[in-house]
Each structure stands twice: as C-alpha cells, then as structure tokens.
Amino acid sequence: MNDSLTVTQQSRATSAPSDVAPAIVSVTNLTKTYASGHQALKPIDLEIRRGEIFALLGPNGAGKTTLISIICGLVNPSGGTVLADGHDIVRDYRAARERIGLVPQELTSDAFESVWNTVSFSRGLFGKPADPAHIERVLKDLALWDKRNDKLITLSGGMKRRVLIAKALSHEPRILFLDEPTAGVDVELRRDMWNVVRRLREAGVTIILTTHYIEEAEEMADRIGVINKGEIILVREKRELMRQLGRKQMTLQLQQPLAAIPASLADYPLELAEDGLELVYSYDSQQQQTGITGLLNAVSATGIEVKDLHTRQSSLEDIFVNLVKERQ
C-alpha cells in the first residue's frame, strides 16, 4: 500500500516537472518586426527548463533563427523580454550572454586562422581565462584534435561545422543553442554531435535546437515546440505528443486490385492506395476498441483476399504536417 503510494507520487513528480523546475530561459511577449516591415515573431511566450533538450520545430521562414538570434544578442527585439538564467538579455546582457553558446545556422569562419587559435579566441571573447586543457578536451570530443593546426580554409564543410560547435563550447556555456545543426552534415558528424549533446546534457547543460528534420527532434528532444509563421503553436513533452497525437495506420495489401471501396466497408475510415492494391485503415491506438477485428471480419466476408498486412505508428512528421495544415 505504502509502496504503491510512493510510486504514484514519484511518477507524478517526474511527469509534471514544469511546476517544479524553474525555467532557465523564459521568453515573455517577445515580438520582432524587421525594418522591412515583416513581422517575423508574433508575441511569443516560451519557457525552457533547466537541463532539458528542447527542439524548436518549424518550416523554413517560421522564425526559428530570429527567435534564437534575439536570445543570443544578434538581433534587437521589437518588444517583450527574455531572461536567461534570470538575467535580462538586454539590461543585463553580460551575465546573460556569458551563459550562452551559439552554433549558428550559416557556416562562417576566419579562413586564415588555425583551428586552435579560433577556438581559443572564442573563449577569450567570452571573458574566460585561457584554459588549454579545456580547449584540448573540446577538440578531442569533436574529432578536431588532429586538425588543430590546420587553417580553417583547408577544412571541409563538416569539419567547419565541428569548429563552430567547438567555438560555442569553448567558454563552457550553461545554455547551448544549435540552429539547424545537422542541415547538410554527414552521418559521422551527426553521430558525433549527438554524442556530444548527450554528454553535455548529462553535465547539466540545457540544449535548444532548431530543425525542420522531424527525426532529429524525435530522436533527441525531451520537449518539442512547434513554431509556424512567427507563432508558437504548441509546446509538449515529446512522449506525450507522440502518444496524444500518435495515430496508427494498418495497411492491407490485396491480391486483386479494387476499383472502389465496397459498400460493406463504408463504415470504416479507409483509403484506397497503390492503384487499388492497398487498403489503409487509420485508427487511434489509445482507444479501447480499435475496430480491427470488425474490419478484418468484414473484409473476409466481402471476399477480399489479403496478401499481407502491417501497421505503422504515425511519426512526428505526420503530426507536424497535420498541425500546420490545421492552422492554414
């Protein structure tokens, strides 16, 4: 009895940390209208929890980079406030920025600098005393150690991206922003990068990444925010999101093509695909009655021969596409 009570309490505590953990980044009423008149951010409210990996998901032009750029100090906000670890990013910019590392979306580098110098420079720029041991660790983690004396201009795109990450980590930030970190990078770098991200998370670093690759958010994030046309339209635990919105599909592959869905199956939400060779049934896997038995009975009663059958959990991608579609 006591045991089960403890378990419930624990699970409640872990499933609703939003009431407990104070936000490390809190964005209130933030807006941005560029000089061109384009409103890139409608009033935005967002709280990032300490130590989490937060994925900001949205199509191109949604305002992801703008939001990150404001928090990091590259773009002036038009209105609203942002606190980073309790420090206002405008009034108390030194304390705020000290804690933040940024890996920008665009690949940029000082062509004629060496890897070692450019990464050490970053640390100095953030006001931290030189620490060759730390720089060495960062370069080794990112497989850059062998290249430390190479000039940046001689590096490949993937290597340059690693250098940008090393620069961002050089001053030991508590909050790390990764803007489209895996856009156009090879598998090896992706793997190394996620290893670094995991290790950072274990060390208590909060990570905010933007992406329009849904698999990335699905793989890495604790929570997901969806932004579209300058508005945050949803913020949810990844698991909860997958569970709540996750729909399943069952696909029946048929022996003979159907011209249309037979009247006897009209009660089921079915779609005909692959030139009539596939029947796709969508259902909610959380429901008591999925309707699968009834459907299969009806199918065989109608005399349709089924060659094969498989089910598929809808991915974040489907969820995302649906969300954005609903909004339009």
Binding site: R94, R97, T108, F121, R123, P129
Partner: protein, 253 residues
C-alpha cells in the same frame, strides 16, 4: 570591463597583421620611402627651402600623415568589414562585451599598427634626409590622436560599407585627395589667396600643420587650431560610433 575580450580582439587583429606583414608593413614603408628618394634626393635639391627647411625634410611630416590616415582607415575598416562580410561577426555580437570594448579592441589594434608604421617611416626617412624633432612629445601626441581618430573613421566606414567597392572608395576618393591638398607637399601660404582660404576647410591641413610644427616649429595654422580640430574630429567619430551601436545600424537588425 571585459578586458580579456578586448585583449582577445586586439591580439587577433595584431596576429592578422603579422601574417600579412608584407602587405601591411613592408609595402607602405617601401612606397613612402620612394617619395623621400624622389623628392628628398632627386628633385628636392632643385626646390628651394621652405621657411629655412630643405624640401626633403619639409615633406616628411606630411608624408607620415598621409600614410597614417590611409593606413588607419583601411586597417580599421577592413578589420570590421570582413567579419560582417564573412558572417563571423555573429560571435562578436553574442559575446558578453560592450560596444565600447569592441571598438577598443578593433580601433586599438588598427591605431597601434599605424603608429608602428608611422614610426618606421620616420626611421626610414631619417636615412634619406637630415631630420630634427623639436617637440617629440607633441609629435607622439599628434601621431596617437590622428591614428585613433582615423581608425575610428575606418571602423565607421567598415560598418557602413556593404561591398568591397564602397570599402575602397572612401580612402581613394576622400582621404587621399584631402591629404594631397592638405599641405603635405607645400606650405599653404605658397597658394593663391583664394585657395588659402578654401583650404582651411580641409581638416587634414590642421593635422599636417600641427604635426609639422612638432618637427620644425613652423606651422600654417596655430597649434591650438590643430589640436582643436583633431579633438573635434575625434569627438565626432565617437558620436557616430555610439549612434551606430545604439541603433544597431547595419550590424544588428
């Protein structure tokens, strides 16, 4: 004050100069020396003395000024234009440093480079023409103030310019003509009266005059006017830089 950051920027810029030693030091020193050879030796001996000073010596302060102005402007403008152009400026903008510290790092490095250059040219000049420096401390003061002011001007140009043409246009179309017409090669009382008046609108006249006074004790305009002019110009550049950072002009949308 984030001195570590200022030092990081300063060192970064000085390292860049060392890497491009040929272009940033050897070439300006060499090209200025050619003036001394031509005007100090070859032609200079046929030109009469100006206010008791041989022509070769007379032009030395003006030529150092010419180098100081063009090099300060081009050093500082390139230093800030390039990160803007390549995108690496993102790091500068996201760092916990004040605008003042950014300017201090970049302008400090650019000014240091042109001061070193000025002294090198001075040393080279003394090989070709007999020189005396009447007021060495004033000479250094003018050198430092001018290098700082025009490095600030360069910083402003580097932020304003959105392509390489504009970056080179200002030094070419403004600084060089103003310096050539600013009494580098002549004393302004050698000009027709109307030009004497017009030329007083050229700020470089005051710089060259004051600088030359620190060498030979002769000047076209009063020392106070020279000093006042450079301080005025310094104040103006500082005000523009402050405005740039307050509004985010061309760096922070």
């Amino acid at each position: 004050m984030n001195l570590t950051a200022v030092r990081a920027i300063y060192r970064f810029e000085m390292a860049r100069a060392r890497r491009t030693l040929l272009q940033s030091v050897v070439s300006p020193v060499l090209s200025t020396s050619l003036y001394f050879v031509v005007f100090g030796g070859a032609i200079g001996s046929r030109i009469s003395e100006i206010q008791g000073i041989s022509y070769g010596a007379f032009i030395v302060p003006g030529l150092i000024m010419l180098m100081l102005l063009t090099q300060s402007v081009s050093n500082a403008s390139f230093a800030i234009f390039f990160p803007k152009f390549s995108g690496t400026i993102y790091e500068l903008l996201s760092a916990p440093i004040s605008h003042f510290e950014i300017v201090l790092g970049y302008v400090g490095a650019a000014a240091t480079k042109s001061i070193i250059l000025g002294l090198l040219i001075l040393a080279t000049a003394s090989l070709f023409v007999p020189l005396q420096i009447a007021h060495p401390l004033w000479m250094l003061l003018f050198l430092v103030l001018t290098a700082m002011t025009f490095s600030l001007l360069g910083f402003i140009i580097g932020i304003w310019a959105d392509n390489f043409e504009k970056l080179q246009l200002v030094p070419l179309l403004v600084i060089t003509p103003l310096t050539f017409l600013g009494g580098t090669f002549y004393s302004i009382d050698m000009l027709p009266p109307i030009w004497q008046t017009l030329t007083l609108a050229n700020p470089v006249v005051y710089l060259v005059s004051g600088f030359r006074w620190s060498f030979f004790g002769i000047s076209d305009v009063s020392l106070v006017a020279s000093l006042g002019m450079i301080l005025l110009f310094l104040g103006l550049c500082l005000a523009i830089v402050a405005w740039i950072f307050r509004t985010g002009y061309r760096i922070r949308p």
